[in-house]
Amino acid sequence: MREKIDQEVSVVMYYSARKQVAQPHTISWQNKEYTIKEIGYKHSIKDGDTLHHIFELTVNEADLWMRLNFDTSNLHWKLEVVSDGLAN
């Protein structure tokens, strides 16, 4: 089941110069910490001049998929949607 969240969340991100990869590592949401298990897909969208990076990922602590939006205009993270991978 997918649920729209649209809440700002705290995120720890890392960047590897060797792999040339920047991605979220830990997400704090509803007083729980989630570490990233797998980034399924990452793409960028433009809203006018503002670039947003969209990360779709799963976490280690639960059977949970998340869609995270990184707004490059203010460097804020938003958790847009979560899903348990089951039918609605």
């Binding site: 006018g48 001049d49 949970l64 998929w65 991978g85 609605n88």
Partner: protein, 411 residues
């Protein structure tokens, strides 16, 4: 005299992404992999599934309404389309193919034709089969491990597409000129790309019931009796492996569709929806630097009837207001027999917008053009529908972006 089968080396490759939208969603969300998934235009029971995963296809779920799909599999996962993600996948897909040759032609979001004639890969003596397997690996690296593609290699685009469909999913097949008889012998007419029910009926009337009959039919019969045009000659060549589908046609029209979520027969409400389609169409028209010389409007109604009209305009249309004024003239002719379910608006006979040609009786049209360009610049910078005509106030989310079928010129 009969034309022989074209016996050139197969160097045309057709690559298509398996169950494109569904597999990209499965790639993005590992929790829905290996499960029946449908991507639907709306998530209401009447919403139409436009793409289904292989797991869903195996259950018989293809293009159908969600309620019908749920009767087959109550646990099917329904997703709404995410066009930006699919466009991103398209661009990555294209970049992989362009690393092999410049001769890459997108046929749709999930289909490409690659011509390897003169490519570096072939010059270095690599077999196209090995190149195909390398492309599969590169696509996994670029889009993700779950993504698979079908690859077909043939003497022309038509046979390459047939080859790509022979071994789904994740196949790689080659049709050599000498295989053509055997391949056609295992197919029905409707399996041939480009042959629909109407064409099959025409062929049947002429005594052609199988692809082999089609191949053996003389050219004059196809041209004079079956298709009654040059199309018959093209089919004669295409079936024999000669390339007739390589031409790229120039843009003739721009249009937008909208399946009305909240059906209505209120002319004012329909007019507002038409306005938003005008803005979307106008944005695309101007983005490609065209102006149009005609407009068409089609409405479908809940009772199964439809209304449509096309009209050439006296002057060139360019701004959203130009399009809307012409559309409203058409809309005033409609007698609504029921609620509107679907709206299609298009502008046609497009010509380049620059250099600007001023008409004698255009009044302040130059100002309209400047205004349209200025508002496009603002919307480019601050996001779609930041500046809109007053008619469109508070309509931001009414007509959302949809995935395109066929054309990829806006990606």
């Amino acid at each position: 005299m009969d034309l022989r089968i074209n016996d050139i080396q197969p160097i045309t490759m057709h690559v298509d992404l398996n169950s494109c939208y569904a597999i990209i969603e499965q790639q993005a969300n590992p929790l829905i992999r290996n499960k029946p998934v449908g991507v639907a235009a709306y998530d209401s029971p009447g919403g139409f599934i436009i793409a289904s995963s292989y797991e869903a296809k195996r259950l018989g779920i293809k293009l159908m309404r969600i309620r019908e799909a749920r009767e087959i599999c109550k646990d099917i996962i329904i997703m709404m389309p995410d066009p930006e993600k699919y466009f991103d996948a398209h661009r990555r897909f294209k970049a992989v193919l362009e690393s092999y040759t410049n001769e890459v032609t997108p046929k749709s979001v999930d289909e490409f034709v690659v011509n390897f004639a003169g490519s570096r890969a072939l010059q270095t003596g690599k077999s196209l089969i090995n190149v195909g397997y390398q492309i599969k690996r590169d696509i996994k690296k670029s889009l993700g491990n779950y993504v698979t593609v079908n690859i077909g290699i043939g003497p022309n685009r038509f046979l390459a597409k047939i080859a790509a469909g022979m071994d789904k999913p994740d196949g790689l097949d080659v049709i050599q000129p000498q295989d053509i008889w055997n391949v056609y012998g295992q197919m029905d007419l409707l399996d041939l790309p480009g042959i629909n029910y109407r064409y099959r009926a025409r062929l049947n009337l002429a005594g052609i019931y199988t692809p082999l009959d089609f191949l053996e039919a003389p050219m004059f019969k196809l041209k004079k009796e079956v298709f009654k045009s040059i199309v018959g000659y093209y089919w004669y060549l295409r079936l024999r492996g000669y390339e007739v589908d390589g031409e790229t046609f120039k843009t003739k029209s721009f249009g937008n569709d909208y399946a009305v979520g909240k059906k209505t027969s209120d002319p004012d409400e329909v007019s507002r929806l038409v306005m938003k389609l005008c803005e979307k169409t106008g944005r695309r028209l101007r983005h490609h630097d065209y102006q149009a010389q005609g407009i068409s409007l089609w409405l479908s109604f809940e009772n199964g009837t439809w209304w449509g009209k096309s009209k050439r305009t006296k002057s060139l249309i360019y701004s959203t207001q130009d399009i809307y004024l012409s559309a409203v003239r058409l809309l005033r002719m409609v007698d609504f027999p029921a609620k509107v379910t679907h709206i299609h608006l298009a502008v046609f006979d497009v010509v380049p917008a620059t250099p600007i040609q001023l008409g004698l009786f255009d009044g302040t049209r130059l100002d309209t053009k400047s205004l349209a360009r200025a508002s496009d610049k603002i919307n480019d910078r601050y996001g779609e529908f930041t500046v809109v005509p007053a008619t469109m106030a508070n309509m931001q989310d009414i007509i959302i972006k949809r995935v395109p079928f066929g054309s990829v010129r806006d990606i």
